[in-house]
């Protein structure tokens, strides 16, 4: 059954998206570090994941539940990791609308993400701010 996407215009501050769960395997990590051109030997020596990759996948999972307009762009990103994330860790992501502004020129949306591992330990917090109509208005 296809997931019903929530239209951003109907979101209010405090809205919580459906909880998403995922894990990252070696194939995806390899594809990611190739895509971003990261040649750190750490990925051959350890099973650690780059922070941004974990966030990128959390945002991909979140985007399945929200319909943002074409042309929405990132304005700012805050990310704080409290613990390392390893290959095949089970990650649970809880996303909440933290800010929503509508003005004559710009519509802005901020989403907070909390990530937990399989031991229910909080591993990260992220807040992403989008301008929703940048490419149409500016």
């Amino acid at each position: 059954m296809a997931v019903q996407r929530t239209d951003f215009s109907t979101l209010d501050i405090g809205f919580q998206f459906p909880v998403s769960a995922y894990s990252i395997g070696e194939d995806w990590r390899s594809a990611y570090i190739q895509a971003v051109g990261d040649n750190s030997e750490l990925y051959n020596q350890t099973n650690l994941l780059p922070h941004i990759s974990v966030l990128a996948l959390a945002m991909a999972e979140m985007s399945k539940n929200i319909s943002l307009p074409e042309g929405a762009i990132l304005v700012s990103q805050t990310l704080e990791f409290y613990r390392p994330v390893h290959l095949n860790d089970s990650i649970t992501a809880i996303a909440t609308v933290t800010e929503k502004l509508k003005s004559r020129r710009l519509d802005l949306l901020a989403i907070g993400l909390r990530l937990f591992n399989q031991n229910n330990e909080e591993i990260a917090f992220a807040e992403t701010r989008f301008i929703l109509n940048y490419s149409q208005r500016i």
Partner: protein
């Protein structure tokens, strides 16, 4: 970094030339196929004038500077606050680096704060970021 960081230390340099192929590859792995990134025809009709790289791709480059500088410690904890100031277009040559702005040691753990920039070939700042990492002695 081979030596303990001190305030003012320059961070390693990361240089990238953005191509549409890079953007498409990142779209595939991230699942973000926003047409502003992957559809040149669509993007040409917007005020941006053409496709732009994902902000998260540029943020990955910022993170690479920290991985180069601090290694495993950066993968074990860390904080970034980044502002996206201008887009990167295919063909842009990016330089990402920065400097240590503060070092604070307390009970065997050193907190290192850095400022990182991402600039294009015209010296225009695309991202400014503040980062922190804790290093256990």
């Amino acid at each position: 970094m081979d030596r303990p960081p001190v305030t003012g230390t320059t961070l390693p340099l990361v240089k990238k030339t953005i191509t549409q192929q890079d953007i498409d590859r990142y779209a595939k792995v991230s699942g973000d196929f926003n047409p502003i990134h992957v559809d040149p025809e669509y993007a040409r009709r917007t005020p941006l004038g053409g496709t732009v790289a994902h902000g998260m791709l540029l943020l990955a480059y910022v993170s690479q500077v920290m991985t180069k500088a601090f290694g495993k410690a950066w993968l074990e904890n860390g904080k970034i606050h980044a502002r996206f100031k201008a887009p990167a277009h295919p063909g842009d040559q990016l330089t990402i680096s920065g400097a240590v702005t503060k070092v604070d040691t307390d009970h065997g753990t050193t907190l290192v704060c850095c400022d990182i920039f991402c600039r294009n070939q015209n010296g225009e700042e695309l991202i400014s970021a503040a980062t922190e990492v804790k290093i256990k002695q």
